[in-house]
Symmetry: C2
Subunit: 320 residues, 2 copies
């Protein structure tokens, strides 16, 4: 039921992307900008924006451009992150920089960034509300950059504690979910209390989503994941799983090695399961989502609110 509702909004967003981000001259640039966007993805963030607007009593149909702007920002960050992480696969396709080179990928990302602001600016809503969203989106992009910087710093750091990790994923992932829910509320006419609750809901469930993503990196097959299993271990990413494992004196041999055989990766994952670190991360993601759901107490009951609560559960139940 909820899957159906999500799919409906995901389709609206995908159709609007085709219309709002047409492939114009220079075609190469727009092909590169569309490559990852067209590869799909679950459109969770834009759907969250639309449902948040509905949950404060608005018609979300005219707000699809704002939802698209969120999806474009998300894809822009993925394209630039893949360059920095030297990741060659994303959503089962070669990364943008693999096909168009680093320069092409930098520009494709930059283009999505500015297109997002263009499209958001043209959302049919009160000027003050749109301007508020523009400011929120810009602030959010700054925080995402800070989060990615911290993430890169952590790879070089001797030790990262859980507090530092939480700050990093809040910025890298949480704030964009927070902004999605906030912007939906803002455009839909929410009051300050509702805006605060929606932002918190998005931010906390987004953080839960990120931790769940770290878990999936070790528990799902490459086919489903769309990228190499255990990639985080090879890259030496200090995920919550690794932070917990290291605190227990467990460190897989291949951690940060860049390359390893499938057998070695399997062994590393088994050691992290045995130390209880994968389960620990799973529990933390559940806690965050639970706190996020509590933040929605400020909203009156409605089908849209029920859908938000379902979406939150889905974010840490999904298998991909």
């Amino acid at each position: 039921m909820s899957d159906e509702e999500l799919r409906k909004r995901a389709i609206m967003v995908s159709e609007a992307i085709g219309r709002l981000l047409p492939v114009v001259r220079p075609e190469g640039l727009y092909d590169a900008a569309r490559h990852l966007v067209d590869a799909g993805g679950k459109r969770l963030r834009p759907s969250l924006l639309l449902i948040a607007a509905e949950a404060v009593g608005a018609d979300s149909t005219p707000l699809v451009p704002a939802a698209v702007s969120i999806e474009l920002v998300h894809n822009f960050t993925l394209i630039h992150d893949d360059i920095m992480d030297n990741a060659s696969l994303r959503r089962g396709r070669p990364s943008v920089h693999v096909i168009w080179g680093e320069s092409g990928a930098i520009l494709a990302g930059d283009t999505l960034y500015s297109k997002a602001f263009q499209i958001l600016a043209a959302t049919p809503a009160h000027h003050e509300r749109v301007l508020g969203c523009m400011e929120m989106l810009a602030k959010t992009c700054t925080a995402i950059c800070e989060g990615q910087w911290l993430d890169l710093d952590f790879e070089k750091a001797e030790q990262v504690d859980e507090g530092q990790y939480m700050e990093m994923i809040e910025k890298k992932t949480g704030v964009l979910y927070g902004a999605s829910a906030w912007m939906g509320g803002m455009l839909g006419g929410a009051d300050q209390e509702q805006l605060h609750g929606l932002e918190e809901f998005g931010r906390l469930t987004g953080m839960g989503f990120q931790i769940h993503d770290d878990v999936l990196d070790m528990t799902v097959s490459e086919n489903v994941l769309g990228k190499r299993v255990g990639g985080d271990i090879l890259e030496g990413k200090k995920t919550l799983i690794m932070i917990d494992a290291l605190s227990k004196g467990v460190c897989p041999e291949i951690f940060g090695r860049g390359e390893a055989s499938d057998e070695q990766i399997r062994e590393a994952i088994v050691s992290l399961r045995r130390s209880g670190s994968i389960d620990y991360a799973r529990r933390r993601s559940e806690e965050l989502v639970s706190r996020g759901k509590d933040a929605l107490d400020v909203l009156d009951e409605s089908p849209a609110k029920a859908l938000l609560l379902e979406l939150a559960d889905y974010m840490i139940r999904r298998g991909y």
Copy 2:
């Protein structure tokens, strides 16, 4: 006299950057973002915005944040361009990617991009005018990406004609000058005709500025230029000078070679001077600036308008 007026505004902009873009956590990111901004530059674009507002009768003092946003966008494009062009020097300093690596430079640029929109959104002016400027700035950033993509394409292209070159510099350089003048007018309360004239003035003089920049690459010493003399020739850039030379069958041996001795670079420049190609580019830049000045006929006479006209001349007279 005009130098004095320009300097005054440049100082206002530089001071405001220190205030509006503080170095906060993670410090490394903000150090990287500030590196090039703090290296100076002439602040021509933000000054243009401020003077354009004055030329339609407004007090430009409260509009300094909008001017800063233009300067940050300009610096963001330089940081990313330097990665793509593999340029190691800028304003006499090592490029951002030389110090912080490519990942650091990508993120520093991305941060300036979002900070620009944040700062612009907080400019104290009518909401509708600010929103109009946000949309203009986003549209302009998209065009800049398109221009840079064309520029990279041209390096690989067999042949580039003057029309293609003009389209490229219009997007890569012209539109940001156009947006600067337009935004100053918009925030200052200009009418549609004035806005059109201001945009055209900025865009055409900006194009003249870019062609003059190509000329400077071959006529000014490294000390003054802040980067390697003849760098465009080594990189195989199809500047207007090279397009004219190639059309006359003149092609320096070191064109696109990446490296050469100072003596070889000197010889290459002499051959381009003999073919008349450097003079040709100079004349074209003068024509563009002259047409740009004509577009200001829509403005009433004022000291600020006189300053805009002087600024236009300065842009192609400057020796660095």
